[in-house]
Amino acid sequence: MTDQAQLLPGTLDLLILRAVSLGPLHGYGILLRIGQISGNALLIEQGALYPGLFRLVRQGLLKASWGTSDNNRRAKFYELTVAGRKRLRQETANWNRLVAAIGSALGAQAEEV
């Protein structure tokens, strides 16, 4: 647990979009998926997922519908809307640019400055 990284503010939404982009998931499923694709490296408080989900639904990036889970429990499933898919692409590109910039800034040697 201790080696898990704290989530940067604002990145939860991106992770949710990414997780859902692979197929419709309920809330708990999203958490599992994020853990799976991030190699369990991120610390997410479970309840904190939900305000993010509702925000994304309100913004029209996700849509929700009730369904049944693998073990026959009623749960709400989320999937990407067209707008959500577009937003995911944009945010991913933004993120990559940011990471590259910060990475190169942090990796710069003294003589390169």
Binding site: Y50, F54, R73
Partner: protein
């Protein structure tokens, strides 16, 4: 699009709130269950798995709250919360709520009623297609709306601005449908009336210009829907039926649609008849007389693209032509356009002036109500300073608290507005079905419409905002630390606060209203006891139109003499006199007279315009009009003897220079006849009670016959007792003659109607103003007493006298009362000048009025400060000081 979607989502989410909340719970619960399932699968016992799942999930309530916020609807939701909180707070202080709502209901109710009347009579146009292009034609400097028929024809044929011009007259006729002869009010109209207005029949057909072929050629009737409904029971077979009008056969052509009730907003006729049949309808035909301006109104739609200025210029050029061509009859032929609904300036001007004045007063009432509520709200905010400080200390923003206070104000104002509107709609509905004067077609159709609702809503919201804003500064300046520490806001006693100003303004408004209503009441009382030039008490009136029963020409005086002789024989009758139209009846007949040495009888050379009355020899006896000099008429003043007249004092001064010179002198009528004055009578009231003395003259009815007949029957004792005998005598003379029998006092109701209405409405507003002032002063005094209770306790403990305590507690309120009353009284004296146009001899320079206002304000002050004073005096210093 997205904004719309999001808005829709927010609104939908507000209404699905509980549903959404349940759904959210279910979703979060499902999450915990799914997690627990996983844990169970990894070997943990179910109960333990669920416990751990819940811990891992974290704060359920917190996340749910955050989720709900994230899902949108926060603003609306907090508004909803504010609303519920406001309702809870108001329920907790029912006294405050009641006073606030009642105050506003009065203010808004008064405004909606006055606006409703103004809306229906002044703002709303006539119910005809394209009412915006419909104009009536006014003539001359004094904006007369009556015209002569030949002039009307010239205007119609020669103008290039109007699509068509129609004209009409109001008159009463006797209708006999086979059983009971009754009298009915009709509009005599030109044949093109319906076509010019663009009205389509509801049933049957209308008459048209093509139906007119000279005098008495179009014996047709078009019924109003209301009359068809009430007198013909919606019988569709009525079309084509023949009925008797004034004993002449007329055919019913059709029925007009229900919403079209004639072209005067406050006069509803029973049916329409072509004016070419005037002789049958009124017993005389004056359609050829260019000098006889007996047409009530000429109106028409402007052609598309023609401006009112162009139309006036067009009409004026016709006027110039008429003046040149007919110098004897037509003078001063300049024209103006007016809205036809209120007969131009004749009814419209005083009505508009009065209603505007009333609206201003009602607005002042509402302002006073708002001032009152502002004071109440400020006091309440001060009392709640602890609550507000606590909320501020707990992290609420001042904006949030202000929004809460405004929500409270809005709730109160909407409740007050709804109540006030409900009352005013009921009142307006009652006014609409009210027939203020029996036996007249006068009605006040003032049902509320969308305009009234909108105005009431806007007024409530604006006033809510007005009084809600009062405590704002107080809240913004609250220092939570200080308040909680010291127990209450330690506001400095400033010399003059906004609250004082509000109260003074309010008292001033109240004093103004009390002054004007007292002035109006005094004027009314005085006009009831003023000298009318006749004595209405102890007299019966028998009114009929002989043309309704087929009498005409020389037959008229013969029948009138028969009536007089028969009525004189009734036991209890002292004297009987006949007059064509009673003084103070709606509109008098006026005519021009010339001095004896005038030979060119064009209108500009007239010596005066005077009232004419056609009377029988004993009229002055019966009416108790004093004869000052000369002799009354005798039965010998008939067709075969020289023309004679009796004139009033004003006439004598105006034409002959002095009353003493009148008897024996001559003057000329507009047709050039020389008339000798044989008698002089006192001046009276002829057109309205508020008028200045007017010249009037009397002609013997044997020399100038008239079918309009009002018999003044002077009786000994109670008129009601003689009434029955008078009635049977009249029926014995001619069973088919419709007539009305009333006392003269009842008849005068119509003359007193305007001043009665003025007095009534001012009185109602005055009472409201007084009520508001009482609550305002009461609130102020009670508040100041409660704030200074502790100080007073200490003073009393130290030996202060009751008088001193009272002075400390109420001095300020009473000082404000005195300042406000003085200001209001002065304003009232200024405002009464406006009143004098409606109410007879309305003058504030009257000791009774001035004294009355002072007494009223002192009584108001006493009533309002009584309870706070009692409270201040009953302070028990020991208990009070121990409590604090």
């Amino acid at each position: 699009m997205r904004v719309l979607d999001s808005l829709r989502f927010r609104i939908a989410s507000l209404f699905r709130r509980s549903e959404m909340s349940a759904e959210m719970d279910e979703e979060l619960r499902a999450h915990v269950q799914l997690r627990a399932d996983d844990l169970e699968r990894s070997g943990v016992a179910r109960a333990e798995a669920e416990r751990r799942a819940r811990i891992e999930f974290g704060g359920h309530v917190k996340f749910k709250e955050e989720s709900r916020e994230a899902a949108g609807g926060t603003l609306l939701e907090s508004l909803w919360m504010d609303l519920r909180f406001a309702l809870r707070m108001l329920r907790k202080s029912p006294g405050f709520t009641f006073v606030a709502v009642a105050t506003l209901a009065l203010g808004i109710g008064a405004n909606s009623v006055v606006f409703g009347v103004l809306n229906a009579l002044v703002i709303r146009p006539l119910h005809v297609p394209h009412a915006e292009s419909l104009w009536g034609i006014e003539r001359g400097k004094d904006k007369a709306i009556n015209h002569s028929y030949p002039d009307y024809l010239d205007l119609r044929e020669r103008n290039r601005s109007f699509e068509d011009l129609a004209a009409y007259n109001v008159t009463a006729v006797g209708l006999d449908t086979g059983n009971n002869p009754s009298s009915a009010w009709i509009l005599e109209t030109t044949g093109n009336y319906f076509d010019a207005l663009g009205i389509q029949p509801y049933l049957g057909r209308f008459f048209h210009a093509a139906d007119e072929h000279g005098p008495n050629s179009a014996p047709y009737i078009v019924l109003t829907y209301a009359y068809w409904h009430s007198h013909f029971q919606d019988d569709r077979g009525v079309v084509g039926r023949t009925v008797q009008l004034n004993k002449h056969p007329f055919t019913i052509l059709g029925v007009a649609p229900a919403e079209f009730r004639g072209t005067l907003l406050i006069v509803f006729p029973d049916f329409w008849v072509p004016i070419v049949n005037q002789e049958q309808l009124e017993g005389k035909n004056v359609l050829d007389a260019r000098g006889n301006r007996g047409i009530l109104m000429v109106m028409g739609h402007l052609k598309a693209g023609v401006t009112t200025q162009q139309a006036v210029a067009d009409l004026n050029s016709i006027g110039t032509y008429l003046e040149k061509t007919y110098p004897k009859d037509d003078g001063n032929m300049t024209f103006a356009l007016t809205r036809p609904g209120l007969a131009g300036d004749w009814l419209g001007k005083p009505l508009r002036a009065f209603l505007t004045g009333l609206l201003m007063l009602a607005g002042l009432i509402l302002l006073a109500a708002c001032a009152n509520l502002g004071t109440l709200f400020a006091a309440r905010a001060a009392d709640r300073s602890k609550e507000i400080a606590l909320r501020l200390a707990l992290g609420s923003s001042p904006g949030r608290i202000l929004r809460q206070l405004f929500t409270e104000a809005a709730v109160i104002s909407l409740m007050g507005g709804a109540l006030g509107l409900w009352g005013s709609v009921a009142l307006l509905r009652a006014l609409s079905v009210w027939q203020p004067l029996p036996a007249s077609p006068l009605q006040i159709p003032v049902n509320a419409d969308a305009n009234v609702y909108i105005v009431a809503l806007v007024l409530s919201l604006v006033s809510g905002l007005l009084f809600g804003v009062v405590p704002v500064r107080q809240v913004l300046h609250t220092d939570p630390y200080q308040v909680i520490k010291s127990g209450s806001t330690a506001t400095k006693m400033r010399r003059i606060t906004a609250r004082d100003f509000l109260l003074v303004a309010q008292v001033a408004i109240c004093a103004l209203l009390v002054t004007s209503s007292l002035v109006a009441v005094r004027g009314l009382v005085r006009s009831l006891h003023s000298n009318f030039g006749f004595e209405p008490r102890g007299a019966l009136l028998v009114e009929t139109s002989l043309s309704m029963s087929g009498y005409s020409g020389d037959g008229l005086p013969v029948m009138q003499k028969r009536m007089i002789d028969a009525l004189k024989d009734v036991p209890g009758v002292q004297a009987v006199g006949s007059v064509d139209r009673l003084p103070l009846y709606y509109g008098a007949n006026g005519t021009r007279v010339f001095t004896d040495d005038t030979s060119d009888l064009r209108p500009a050379n007239a010596a005066a315009s005077v009232m004419v009355y056609l009377i029988s020899p004993e009229y002055f006896d019966a009416a108790r009009t004093s004869l000052l000099a000369g002799r009354p008429f005798s039965w010998h003043d008939d067709k075969n003897s020289p023309r004679v007249a009796v004139v009033n004092r004003e006439f004598a001064s105006k034409i002959f220079g002095s009353p003493n010179k009148a008897v024996g002198s001559y003057f000329k009528t507009k047709d050039g006849s020389r008339v000798q004055v044989v008698g002089l009578v006192e001046s009276g009231k002829y057109e309205s009670l508020a008028e200045d003395p007017q010249p009037a003259m009397f002609f013997p009815f044997q020399q100038v016959p008239s079918s309009e007949t009002s018999m003044v029957v002077r009786v000994n004792g109670d008129p009601q007792q003689v009434g029955a005998a008078v009635k049977s005598t009249m029926q014995g003379l001619d069973a088919g003659m419709p007539f009305t029998l009333r006392t003269w006092n009842q008849e005068l109701e119509s003359a007193l109607f305007p001043s009665r209405m003025a007095t009534l409405s001012l009185g109602a507003l005055g009472a409201m103003g007084a009520m508001l002032s009482v609550t305002g002063i009461f609130g102020m005094a009670a508040y100041s007493v409660s704030k200074r209770l502790r100080e007073m306790g200490i003073r009393m403990a130290l030996g202060a006298q009751r008088r001193e305590v009272l002075q400390a507690a109420l001095g300020r309120a009473l000082k404000l009362l005195a300042v406000g009353s003085t200001a209001g009284l002065l304003l009232g004296i200024l405002a009464s000048r406006v009143l004098s146009a409606i109410v007879y001899q309305a003058t504030p320079r009257d000791p009774v009025v001035l004294g009355g206002v002072v007494v009223a304000m002192v009584v108001l002050g006493l009533v309002a400060t009584w309870i706070p004073a009692q409270r201040a005096l009953s302070v028990n210093p020991v208990i009070l000081l121990r409590e604090e």
